[in-house]
C-alpha cells in the first residue's frame, strides 16, 4: 500500500494500564483525543485504520460500504488465530447482506424482546438454583465464574438451541481455545472443526428426533443443510455464553470496587437495575478489541480519506468513553443515561442476542446482590487475573465470600 506503516502504535491489541484494569488501553484513549482516525500496524506487517470516536464508529458500522465479509482480500485480522476464525468456516457475523440478513432473519424472532422477557422467570429460577447450590451446607466461599456467571447463560443458550448442557465441558473448552488471542492457527482450526462436527451431528439427529430448540426448527424448515445449521449454532453457542458470563463476573468485580455505586444499586428498583446494566455494558465494553470492517469504496470519514480495500478497526471501548457522547463523570456512574453505548456494536450486525443478554444480566446481578448482601472478594484485588489475552474481556476467576 502507498501509505507508509505508522510508527505510533506498534501493538494491537494494545495493552491496558496496569493500574486500572477497567479502563481501555491508554493508546486508544490517546488516539481518540489526538487523532481520532489514525493508522495502526498489525502483527503481520500490514496496517489498518483505528476509529475511536463514538460518532465515527457509528458512522462506519451503519455504512454498508464497510464490509464485514472477512473472505475479502485485505480484510484486517488482529492475530494469526483470528485470521483462521475469519477465513475458515464463518457464519453470518462475517458476511454482508443480503446473505447475512437471510440467515439473521431466521433467528430474529427467537431473540426479540417479548420472547426474551418470557424467559425471565426461567432465568430467575436458574439463578436461584445456582446460588442455592453455591451457598449450600453453610459454604462461605466460591469462585463465582464456574459456579454462577458461566453456567447461567450456558444453560440458557443450550436450552434455546437444543444442545445438551451435559456437554458444556466440551464446548466451553473449545470456546476458550477459539477466543484466546495467542492460540495458534492449528489449535483454532482444530477446535472449530471439532465444534462444527459436533453440531452438524446434533443437527442431523434433531432431524429425526426434534425438540423445541432452534437447531430442530432450522432443520425442520429445510432451508439449511446440517453444516450450515452447525455454523449458525457455533456462532450462537459461543456468542451466547462467553459474553454474558464475562460481563456478569466483571460487573460484580467493578461494583465491589465502587462501593458507592454498589450501594446505590442495592437501593434501586428494577428501572435502576436496567439502567445500571447499560452503564456497566458501556463502562466495561468486554468486546475489548473492537470490531473490524473493510472499505469496499473510497469513503471520507470526518475528513480522513479511507480508500477501497483498506481495513478499519472500530474501537468500541474507546467510543464508549467518548466525552462527546457521554458527558459528565468519566468513570462508572450508574445514574448516567448510557443507552447510546456501543457495547453490542452498531449497524446490521448489532448483537442479535442483546435482549437476552440484558435480561440475563439484570437477573444475575439483581439476584446476587439481594441474596448475598455481604458479598465481597475472597482474595486481594491485585490477585485477580484479567482476560487481557482473550477476545472477550473479563476475569479468569472471581473468588468471593459472603
Amino acid at each position: 500500500m502507498a501509505v507508509p506503516a505508522p510508527q505510533t502504535l506498534t501493538e494491537v491489541p494494545a495493552p491496558r494500564r496496569s493500574g486500572c484494569p477497567f479502563d481501555p488501553a491508554p493508546a486508544y484513549e490517546q488516539a481518540r483525543r489526538a487523532e481520532p482516525v489514525s493508522r495502526i500496524r498489525l502483527w503481520d506487517g500490514t496496517w489498518c485504520w483505528l476509529v475511536t470516536r463514538h460518532q465515527d464508529v457509528r458512522t462506519v458500522l451503519r455504512d454498508q460500504r464497510f464490509s464485514a465479509d472477512s473472505s475479502r482480500p485485505g480484510f484486517p485480522f488482529l492475530s494469526p488465530g483470528r485470521r483462521v476464525l475469519g477465513t475458515g468456516r464463518t457464519s453470518f457475523i462475517r458476511q454482508d447482506d443480503p446473505e447475512h440478513a437471510r440467515l439473521r432473519r431466521m433467528l430474529t424472532a427467537d431473540f426479540m424482546v417479548r420472547r426474551t422477557e418470557e424467559l425471565r422467570p426461567r432465568i430467575q429460577e436458574l439463578a436461584d438454583a445456582l446460588l442455592d447450590t453455591m451457598t449450600a451446607h453453610g459454604r462461605r466461599e466460591a469462585d463465582l465464574v464456574p459456579e454462577f456467571a458461566l453456567p447461567l447463560p450456558s444453560v440458557v443458550i443450550c436450552l434455546l438451541l437444543g444442545v445438551p448442557y451435559a456437554d458444556h465441558g466440551f464446548f466451553q473448552r473449545l470456546s476458550s481455545v477459539m477466543l484466546r488471542t495467542a492460540s495458534s492457527p492449528a489449535e483454532i482450526s482444530a477446535a472449530q472443526d471439532e465444534l462444527q462436527a459436533y453440531l452438524a451431528d446434533l443437527a442431523g439427529r434433531r432431524r429425526g428426533q426434534p425438540d423445541e430448540g432452534i437447531l430442530s426448527r432450522l432443520a425442520a424448515e429445510g432451508e439449511l443443510d446440517d453444516e450450515e445449521i452447525a455454523s449458525v449454532g457455533r456462532l450462537l453457542l459461543i456468542a451466547g455464553h462467553e459474553t454474558t458470563a464475562n460481563m456478569t463476573a466483571l460487573s460484580v468485580l467493578a461494583l465491589l470496587r465502587h462501593p458507592d455505586q454498589l450501594a446505590r444499586l442495592r437501593a434501586g428498583g428494577p428501572q435502576e437495575h436496567k439502567a445500571a446494566v447499560e452503564e456497566l455494558l458501556r463502562y466495561l465494553t468486554i468486546v475489548q478489541d473492537g470490531v473490524v470492517r473493510l472499505a469496499t469504496e473510497d469513503v471520507s470519514l470526518g475528513g480522513t480519506a479511507i480508500a477501497a480495500g483498506e481495513g478499519v478497526l472500530c474501537m468500541l471501548s474507546s467510543a464508549n468513553r467518548d466525552e462527546a457522547a457521554f458527558p459528565g463523570e468519566a468513570g462508572l456512574d450508574l445514574g448516567r443515561d448510557a443507552r447510546r453505548h456501543l457495547a453490542f456494536g452498531f449497524g446490521v450486525h448489532q448483537c442479535l442476542g442483546q435482549a437476552l443478554a440484558r435480561v440475563e444480566l439484570q437477573v444475575a446481578l439483581g439476584t446476587l446482590l439481594s441474596r448475598l448482601p455481604e458479598l465481597r472478594l475472597a482474595v486481594p484485588f491485585e490477585e485477580i487475573r484479567f482476560r487481557g489475552d482473550m477476545l472477550v474481556y473479563g476475569v479468569h476467576a472471581l473468588p468471593v465470600t459472603w
Binding site: 432473519r105 430474529t108 424472532a109 431473540f111 426479540m112 448489532q350 442479535l352 435482549a355
Partner: protein, 68 residues
C-alpha cells in the same frame, strides 16, 4: 411528530421496543419492527427520538410536525 419504520432495514435488535415500548413492537413471526402508533403523543416524543437515534440500522424516521 410523525414516525415511520422501514422493515426492510430493520435487523430486529429490539432497541426501539426497550426505549419506547408504547410506540414500537416486534412482529411475532419475524421479530422485525412493528409501528404501534404513527403519531405518538408529546409525552412519548423524547423516547421516540432516542429510539430513532439509537436504531442501529437507521430503520426509524421521525418527522417533527408543527405544534408539538
Amino acid at each position: 411528530m410523525r414516525v415511520a419504520v422501514d422493515r426492510e432495514k430493520c435487523c430486529g435488535a429490539g432497541l426501539c421496543v426497550l426505549t419506547a415500548g408504547g410506540v414500537f413492537d416486534q412482529g411475532e413471526e419475524d421479530g422485525l419492527v412493528v409501528l404501534l402508533v404513527a403519531e405518538p403523543p408529546a409525552a412519548e416524543a423524547e423516547d421516540v427520538r432516542e429510539a430513532a437515534q439509537g436504531c442501529p440500522c437507521g430503520a426509524i424516521t421521525v418527522e417533527e410536525t408543527a405544534g408539538q
